[in-house]
């Protein structure tokens, strides 16, 4: 079901003033906002012993489920990159008694939305159903997770779609910039490998590999679940047991090797004949559990975060008109964390743009934010959280992220106080710590006056 082309076409019909996240998608920033009010989160343990978090809301007769297994693309064997992505793409292409067509026919007939995806360290899934179809919805999810068929035709379909995507990405400047950034930052480490593999690695993947992967990763021990909507804990517990109860208790995960980010201070240019150069830049980030995390989050917000008032936005876009978008965000994994951002600008202004960005990083590292910036960032971050909780799906996603990050079920209540507790001294210390070690920059296009150079150059 590839509708990539359509997405491109639609984009030409609409144009937006400001596309906050362009051109990079920085994942995992969601779990960070927080209202003083609102959602009542319950921790429930099913009769079968599976914990899940839920929010009951009978306003609209629907149920949203979000879940995550630890695993993700870092568990791909070294010579079989793309295995996780190919596995999740095939789980719903036939399961139990149903072939792929019958499976999708059931989903559609009952208007059930089931999506599975792999990111670096987790397999994530969402299920959305009308209340009246909940039995069928959970049953189809159960089949996909417990009895996937991995039939040859379905496997080849998934492979063909992943290969098509890889080929498309091979000449897409955003993909090239991003892939090369990760490869340079984590050479030889699973974090440095492309999540969807390569043409060669995807060609090697077999149905048995996928079965093995599913068996290793889909296990109860690392499972995090949220259920939101028009359902009570008893019914939810029964569904959860039936859906997840028969999975193995423990996963078999390869430990992720320790690593540290490489290439800080270096720059790599990849030639591609496009009018606009695409730039990915990044440096060290901070662990989610680090006591300075909130201070770092505030610093990033002021430097390059999502609002239209960040320093990078002002310098690069507002004052000089060098780019449509520029932003930066924090990402955190088990073994590494990074602050990563991107922009895109015409060939002749690429050097100026990169220099501006590097200057802003340096300036923030040495001086930190101002008192006024800190105060405004705090009110922003406190106020913005509510916007992440206004639909059932968003709440469910938030609850799973809070479980993954081990923030505690009362995190939403504590969050505002955590933000308020950050001092100017905290932000200065953490700005120096994060931003003082330089940036790794990748550029794709025909930039004028920008050349590759090593960390010393």
């Amino acid at each position: 079901m590839q509708t990539f082309q359509e997405a491109c076409r639609r984009a030409t019909r609409f144009a937006s003033a400001r596309l906050g996240t362009f051109p990079l998608t920085v994942a995992a920033l969601l779990a960070l906002a927080a209202p003083a009010h609102a959602v009542k989160i319950e921790r429930v343990v099913s009769p079968g012993g599976i914990e899940f978090w839920m929010v009951r809301d009978a306003t609209v007769p629907l149920i949203s489920v979000d879940f995550a297994f630890r695993g993700g693309t870092v568990q791909d064997p070294e010579d079989k990159g793309g295995l996780a992505e190919m596995t999740v793409a095939t789980l719903d292409e036939g399961a139990g008694e149903l072939d792929g067509t019958a499976f999708h026919e059931r989903l559609e007939r009952h208007a059930i939305e089931l999506q599975l995806r792999a990111n670096r360290e987790h397999l994530r899934g969402t299920l959305r159903t009308l209340k009246v179809n909940q039995d069928e919805a959970f049953n189809l999810l159960r089949l996909a997770l417990n009895e996937p068929r991995f039939e040859a035709a379905a496997v080849e379909r998934s492979r063909a779609q992943i290969v098509a995507n890889l080929r498309r990405q091979s000449t897409n400047p955003n993909s090239i910039a991003s892939r090369n950034w990760w490869a340079a930052a984590f050479p030889g480490h699973p974090y440095g490998r492309p999540s969807n593999g390569t043409l060669e690695s995807v060609a090697r993947i077999t149905a048995d590999d996928m079965r093995d992967y599913a068996r290793r990763v889909l296990a109860r021990e690392t499972l995090k679940i949220a259920v939101v909507g028009d359902i009570d804990p008893e019914a939810a517990g029964r569904h959860i047991d039936r859906t997840f109860g028969a999975l193995p208790a423990r996963p078999q995960l390869h430990p992720i090797p320790a690593t540290s980010m490489q290439g800080l201070g270096s720059r790599a240019v990849f030639a591609l004949n496009v009018p606009q150069a695409v730039v990915t830049f990044g440096g060290v980030g901070i662990a989610r559990k680090d006591p300075d995390f909130m201070a770092a989050y505030i610093v990033n917000h002021i430097l390059g975060g999502g609002s239209f008032t960040s320093r990078l936005y002002r310098e690069v876009r507002e004052i000089r008109g060098l780019a449509y978008g520029v932003n930066a965000g924090l990402m955190w994994f088990e073994r590494a964390a990074m602050l990563i951002g991107g922009t895109a600008t015409r060939a002749e202004s690429t050097a100026e743009t990169i220099e501006l960005i590097e200057n802003e990083f340096r300036k923030m590292a040495t001086e930190g934010p101002t008192e006024d910036e800190l105060a405004k960032a705090k009110t922003y971050l406190k106020g913005a959280f509510a916007l992440n909780l206004d639909t059932s799906s968003k709440i469910a996603a938030q609850l799973v992220q809070m479980q993954i990050d081990d923030l505690g079920i009362d995190y939403i209540e504590r969050r505002s106080a955590m933000i308020d507790a950050v001092t100017l001294a905290d932000t200065r210390r953490v700005a120096q710590r994060l931003l003082g070690s330089g940036l790794l920059v990748t550029v794709v296009g025909r930039p004028k006056g920008v050349t590759s150079r090593g960390p010393g150059g």
């Binding site: 509708t3 906050g20 007939r109 063909a160 030639a271 239209f308 060098l322 913005a384």
Partner: protein, 457 residues
Amino acid sequence: MLHAMRRTVVALATLPLMLLAGSSGHGTETGSQVSYFTLANGLEVVVIPDRRTPVVTHMIWYRVGSADETPGKSGLAHFLEHLLFKGTKKNPQGLFSRTVATIGGAENAFTSSDYTAYFQRTTRDRLKLMMEFESDRMTGLVLTDDVVRPELKVVLEERNSRVENNPAARLAEQMEAALFLNHPYGRPVIGWRHEIEQLTREDAIAFYRRFYTPNNAILVVAGDVTAQEVRQLAEETYGQVPRVAEVKPRVRPQEPEQEAPRTITLSDPRVTQQSISRYYLVPSYTTGQKGMAETLDLMAHILGRGANSRLYQKLVVEAGIAVGAGASYYGTALDHTRITVYGAPRPGTSLAQIEEAIDATIAELIEKGVRQEELERARNRIIADFVYAQDNQSSLARWYGASLITGMSMEQIRTWQDRVRAVTADDIHNAARQWLDKRRSVTGYLIRQSGSRDDRS
């Protein structure tokens, strides 16, 4: 399943934009008490209560889009949208955006062929503040060359990002231009580069004075509010803005009888995944006879939305010749619009084979119509979107806004479900015969430019 993100984008774009009728009969609050009224100065107001979380979505929609531009000034509607963020006499230099950021709100704007809209999402207690700012910039915009010049560069970078860096988007732009022989929908919303480059501050101001007036706008407020509150706040803010222009009927040059199928080929060395797509000129919700757009929605769904659709089943699953195939209908338009069909071949399959398979699928639809069970499945799916939409105040606000601004009445929105239920298999068969006529179409081929040097390093 692959490409969840992309599919989501498409789903939003292809959903009928008027899912949201009155009460759903489930005793729900959201979407069930929609109010509509008009202020003395002509501003229309829609209020959509959703009392679950203390958040509001505040949108102002103007009846002006790229199809209302003077020939030679393409991109002006969108450029002006960017400039609306530059400040007014009362709130100079981006004070509005800085305030939104400080309170933790989210904001943006978008332009289409038929409308321009601005929105903020904030906690409910900030609604009045947002209304004060937004009503102020309805007529109070102040522009200097110092802010206009860099913003023009931003728009050119946006064009680079959206179109010129992307061969598929370049093809789509050429296809739209070819589909509309006479209607201004053939112009890209973002504008042609050579015309954007010539836009001036004076152009923007003249355009602004012509179209930005309360009697040419619709205010939509969704979220934790009552109609009474919004009416009072609207009177105090927008109600004080005088009409500054008379609004003329939006009469655009219409399409002549189209007599010849057109084909467009875009070849580029960066095309690694070839594809074919076709646009058919068809009626919209506004131009179609009663029930026609609903019929086309169902027809496009059966033909090409998702894994059960005919195109996906025939090309991707059964024949195994494509990595993707589908169709979509964009019904929310003031004038005639389009149905899109597309397919992307697997390696070893030619575009001609894909086109042949698409043609055969469409010929079968024209010859034999649809099966009753297909129709029921599609109908269930489309009507279920109505319930899902009630979970999302932003979606509700957008759908009401886009529907009303392109000429639907509240009554038509309210009775949308009834018309979807009334569509018969015969209706779809007749619509297919009438509208899937190649003489009213343009077919685009995206191919790799052969014999070109590999321009990657």
